[in-house]
Symmetry: C2
Subunit: 231 residues, 2 copies
DNA sequence: AATCATCAGATTGTCTGATAATCTAGGGAG
DNA sequence: CTCCCTAGATTATCAGACAATCTGATGATT
């Protein structure tokens, strides 16, 4: 028997089933919560054993694409970004990314969204109040944990406010990697961070996008000083 | 019975097993190709049935994290980013992202990396030749398919050349969404795209980063004209 | 009549056991 | 020594069963 034909991975039934189920959800444009056929029905549809079908659905369920509850059945679920993030740790581009590259990524993303934030702020005054509120809470933070959570929320809100939602998802994906830096922040550095935030807020409100960008760049790049300490 | 207590998802054994296996690979710093214990051994280790363990490993295998071959056993695999990308279609921030938001994302990312590309180009002259070569091939492209592939490669190489690897991974994740735009390009528009590419290359070589950024912005935003046609 | 408890059916979760397909390694023939 | 080929190991798939859990209907109580 020719082995060269067998070496290229023969498609496994459960993967085919998973892909067809994936396509089914996409084609029918099903939304989270919509019912799917039962395991037995799906197994019959695809002409496979129920266990084979289960291994396919469980592959999709692990990332939240489908949801299964005993007695209820299968429904379409919502993608679990946290799981995706955990998986991305295995990707060379991210796993081996240098701290400097991560900081540069943040600079590009978070300065890039600022012009849109400024635009949205002009149309939606509430935005300024929200950002100000978070920064005020940051001033009152007493523990590192509380400070980190609020700092993340501040930056998340900025990206969200821009309306560039793909970058919001990306930021969420990278949050695990960024958290390392924040956890190494010393209490003395909180204050300077809060001052930077305030300058950014004020500049955005006044429509001074370039000023906000410059301040944001400085704010994020301040982490560079701690890279040698961390790694 | 209080239903509010049951609604929070009770941890399922196979997901716990999958996470522990994931952690095992990470903790042992295993690389693609490294052997894992057999299904029976792992099942015994985690104290679950072999089938339950299989549903866990298959979840990871679908995404490429582990690989299984009959007669051989389980090995560590390489993350299948294509699978992950396909699943990202289910994330609201990406699925419901407007074409305008996607274009803005590309502008932010691809103009953001240009300063670093310019730096790298000064140290590595070969880079300019590579970009030039791709653009020359673009001139010779005869089919839309060939043109699209080369266009993707041109932009991918730019991001890669910047050394900001996280953004390279992100661009790959978004490639599915970007491809929609490229597929709607008319042949008459190829030429203007190639001219833009050339201007970007030339500006980068001369170290004129701002010029390159402006040209890149115009180049990508030119897709806006076709949004109404597409959607 | 309205509300609550309970039960039956449906559905997924997990287990036991078995067979087929496939690969690895070692022994035997040349 | 080289090549082929068999035996064992390992995953792939299937079949059947029982437990856990939810939904909805049925009946009892107030």
């Amino acid at each position: 028997m020719l082995n060269t034909l067998n070496t290229l991975p023969r498609p496994k039934t459960r993967d085919l089933v998973a892909e067809r189920l994936h396509a089914y959800i996409a084609d029918e444009q099903l939304s989270p919560g919509d019912r799917l056929p039962t395991e037995n029905e799906l197994a019959a549809m695809f002409g496979v054993n129920r266990l084979t079908l289960r291994e396919a659905t469980k592959s999709l369920e692990y990332l939240g694409v489908v949801e299964a509850k005993p007695g209820k059945g299968l429904t379409v679920g919502q993608l679990n970004l946290e799981r995706v993030t955990d998986l991305l740790e295995f990707h060379p581009d991210l796993r081996d990314a240098s701290p400097l590259a991560l900081i540069r990524t943040r600079v590009i993303v978070e300065t890039g969204v600022l012009p849109f934030v400024a635009d949205r702020m002009r149309a939606e005054p509430l935005l300024h109040a929200q950002l100000q509120e978070i920064n005020d809470q940051l001033r009152r933070a007493r523990t590192l944990k509380a400070w980190v959570e609020l700092d993340i929320e501040f930056h998340r809100l900025l990206v969200e406010a821009s309306g560039v939602t793909p970058l919001l998802a990306f930021n969420q994906l990278l949050s695990v990697f960024f958290r390392k830096f924040r956890d190494s922040v010393k209490k003395a550095e909180w204050k300077t961070g809060i001052v930077s935030h305030q300058r950014i807020i004020d500049a955005l409100k006044r429509g001074k996008v370039l000023v906000a960008e410059r301040e944001m760049r400085r704010h994020i790049e301040s982490h560079i000083d701690r890279i040698d300490v961390v790694s």
